[in-house]
């Protein structure tokens, strides 16, 4: 009851956007502003004195506030240019792995395209960037769908996936994980090992290194008989 029904599945895209607004981004301030300390006091990283036209690094929410008031210009990060995105698209379509885009590329690009579209340089305009990003997203989604086949009730590595993509696949994958766990033929063995890992970690690790948990040849031999 304390949590809305949508939130019971986990974070929402709005939450991701919110958390992402803490990340640093470069701006070109258009007004002078003296040193402002953050809420944590003078020992935390502060919002340094702004002397235009020097660039400054500030959190994204700070930059967006200033931008709304017309007091700064946001410097679009390098990977969000047409040239760089074309390269990424080439990589995506040519290999099976995910290309190393920044983890927050979806949130950041959406925010910048929405609120700072006039800060994109002419040669790398926001329209072209939008189209390229859409293509990249589709290529990655296709790969994710393929990756769903690798699900098992134990582990799945997801290299280079962005946080928004993981959020999108979370309900499906975690439900599938749950079902696979319930239908798991080796459930008892898995539960035993997991229980030991929780309780006696050192011993479990030692035994695992000795290879005691691997299914022995004797057992496999028995199965072949059937």
């Amino acid at each position: 009851m304390a949590l809305s029904h949508r939130r019971r599945w986990g974070l929402t895209p709005q939450d991701l956007d919110f958390a992402n607004q803490e990340r640093e981004i470069e701006i070109v301030p258009m007004v002078r502003l003296p040193l402002t300390s953050s809420n944590d006091g003078p020992l935390a990283p502060q919002f340094g004195p702004f002397n235009p036209p020097q660039k400054a690094k500030v959190p994204l929410w700070f930059a967006l506030q200033m931008k709304k008031k017309g007091k700064c210009r946001i410097v679009v990060p390098g990977w969000l240019s047409v040239a760089s995105l074309e390269e990424t698209l080439r990589e995506e379509t040519s290999s099976d792995d995910f290309s190393p885009l920044p983890r927050d590329y979806v949130e950041l690009s959406n925010t910048l395209l929405h609120l700072a579209s006039d800060d994109f340089p002419l040669h790398s305009s926001s329209d072209k960037v939008k189209i390229l990003l859409k293509d990249i997203r589709e290529a990655r989604q296709a790969k994710i769908r393929v990756g769903a086949g690798a699900l098992n009730p134990v582990h799945l590595a997801m290299p280079h996936l962005s946080s928004m993509e993981i959020l999108e696949l979370r309900p499906t994958f975690s439900t599938a994980f749950q079902r696979l766990r319930e239908l798991n033929p080796e459930a008892e063995r898995h539960e035993a090992i997991a229980g030991m890992w929780l309780e006696k970690e050192g011993e479990a690790r030692r035994r695992a290194e000795l290879g005691e948990f691997e299914r022995g040849d004797a057992q496999e031999g028995m199965e072949e008989e059937y």
Binding site: M1, A44, E212
Partner: protein, 287 residues
Amino acid sequence: MNKSFFDDDDEDDTLGSPGRSSLQADFNSNRAASPRAYGAGPSKSARTSSTTGGRQSSVTGAQANSSVRAYESTRGGSPTLEDILGEESSHDGERNVQKLIRAWNNEMGAPELLKYPKRLVERLVKDLVHRKALVKEANQMVGEDEALYLQASLVATECMRTAHVLKSYQRCRIYKIEQYADFYLDQEDREDRLSPDELVHAEGYSEIRKRYMNDSGRDAFPSSLLNKDMPVLEPDLSQAVFVHVLRECGPVLLPDGELIPLAQGSQHMLRYSTIRTCLERGDVELM
């Protein structure tokens, strides 16, 4: 016009109306002249320091043209015990809000209630109350100064963000407490896991639920069933979680017997039980 707000020495309120006669926490070095311009700089600082029991005020700093800060307290001047011990000041480049956001994300992802970060929350609430008071003060002063106005609005935004994370974090925890209240109350580390308020809430909730069960019909059960203890529901630690590895963690044992290393920056979907200890250490974060 007196531009003295963002004044942090609460104890200076003994001087009377806040913001006017108390110290000027002026931010930029241009303004350093202004306290003097009011003709009371040195004497005022002497006065403030005497009433604050010898603590340094920022007037000294501003007049000395050192790097002045908008946020003034003893922390800027004389070292407090906290500074000496270095406890509160270990920021390692990360703001408290970011730490709380991480705690919130972890809480949303994990199936069981995680430890309550007491110091972090207390610190944040304290800073929040403080800053809100300052911003209120600042808003009352309708000045022509754009820069200060902008600063005030930025600080207000930061306060709102902190408040939002705090509220969402608490909501998530309350939901999880209500799911398995009896279980958490039975644990030995319940003082660590639950804040005092949460403990009270959990006990009250558990009590109400038991009474409801009894009134709903448990009194009509046959006596053989009544004598048995009700089994306590436990949170399911084998649920899937999505982890992002912050620091290299030793190999973790998967339930199928395999040991996998957790490389820094990698992302995995695992059972919660697998990475529980890594999460406690802070080597991984949940998404």
